[in-house]
Subunit: 222 residues, 2 copies
């Protein structure tokens, strides 16, 4: 009975940690996107990125409510992940508006793929919840259209954005692995089993392949 | 008939200009509040200010939709007011979290009073619309409670925030007058009639008095 109680606690902790990482990810994305929106070339473009930031806040609010529901203070659940997310944003400051839009698109898509993959190891309620929050939505499509339009207007952007996309996905995958390792429950488990290490490798390869397909879809060399 | 058409056009332009000023005010408040939220002492406080920023974006979206409804491109309606709002934010950069909360509260309340007062001169549809967007709401109350709590926790804050509040309202009223003067339709009218000048004086005094009552409510010397 001790074991099944431990397993239940541990599963609960895993959910809380994933939701905490996602919550801080959305709150920090809100901050970063709203900051980047100020660099938009037109007020219309500014409002588009602001709307994406508002969507990130909406996801944060859903995650925060869900954490309270399972008896966890969101602040407590988010804190362990704050440093690595902030570090990621520090390392990937967009140089201009187009790089901001690309960053928003890459974060939105890669992190959704990551969270959904990880949620497969959790209880079905958490799994469905994560599926709902981390799905490609209208915002994803708006960003894709913005990028498509920018690339059509100025084909010289392609090589710069392709490079930036590679840089971003590299940092994002490093970040995802760091989130895994810093995960107080999942981390130690991952480090000590060859199966888990293999699973992380497989997941990283899958995330990279999905990203590459999206970049190709934009006409960029992934 | 020429005259009544001119009058109608001019009334429509006045509405478009007021809505444009409000729209840019909300979009710039969104940017400023989300930036300030990053300085919050806790993630909880950060999320509170982020939510207020999201509310400002929501108002911007309503105003933007309304402008499209009356056949005006929001970008076009906002541009004439961008410089003076940006200038206001440049001149009133909060020094810390408490000054950010105070600024959010002062902007929220004084600008609502201002927009509602000006809307009285417009058609009833615009008037009702402005009344709905620029009313004290949950955000206003959240900010008031935050300030009350901060002042109770640290009474030494009172003199600093009282000074900051006076500075903010001074800048806000200068800003409101500037918005009036830069108003391509309203501006020239205001400058040329003694009645209008008197009306501006009365309005300024009313806004200052309402602000003073709110500061007194917080236990601050206005």
């Amino acid at each position: 009975m001790g074991t099944s109680l431990d397993a239940a606690t541990s599963a609960g902790q895993l959910s809380a940690e994933l939701l905490g990482a996602m919550a801080y990810g959305e709150l920090s994305a809100f901050g970063r996107l709203s900051l980047d929106s100020r660099e938009a070339p037109t007020l219309h473009d500014r409002s588009v990125l602001a709307k994406i930031a508002v969507g990130a806040y909406g996801n944060f609010a859903l995650l925060s409510d869900r954490l309270w529901e399972i008896g966890v203070d969101p602040e407590h659940a988010m804190l362990p992940f704050q440093r690595s997310f902030d570090h990621f944003h520090e390392r990937t400051k967009p140089g201009d508006w187009f790089e901001s839009v690309m960053k928003a698109y890459v974060i939105d898509t890669v992190s959704s793929d990551f969270y959904r993959a990880v949620s497969m190891f959790l209880d079905s309620t958490t799994q469905h919840f994560v599926e709902r929050v981390a799905s490609p939505d209208q915002a994803t499509e708006v960003l894709r259209v913005l990028l498509n339009r920018a690339l059509a207007d100025d084909p010289r952007l392609a090589s710069r954005l392709a490079l930036w996309g590679r840089r971003l996905v590299g940092e994002a995958l490093t970040q995802a692995q760091r989130v895994g390792v810093e995960h107080p429950v999942l981390g130690p488990a991952l480090k000590n089993t060859p199966d888990a290490r293999a699973a992380v490798k497989t997941l990283t390869a899958e995330l990279a392949a999905k990203h590459a397909r999206r970049m190709t879809g934009l006409g960029l060399t992934a």
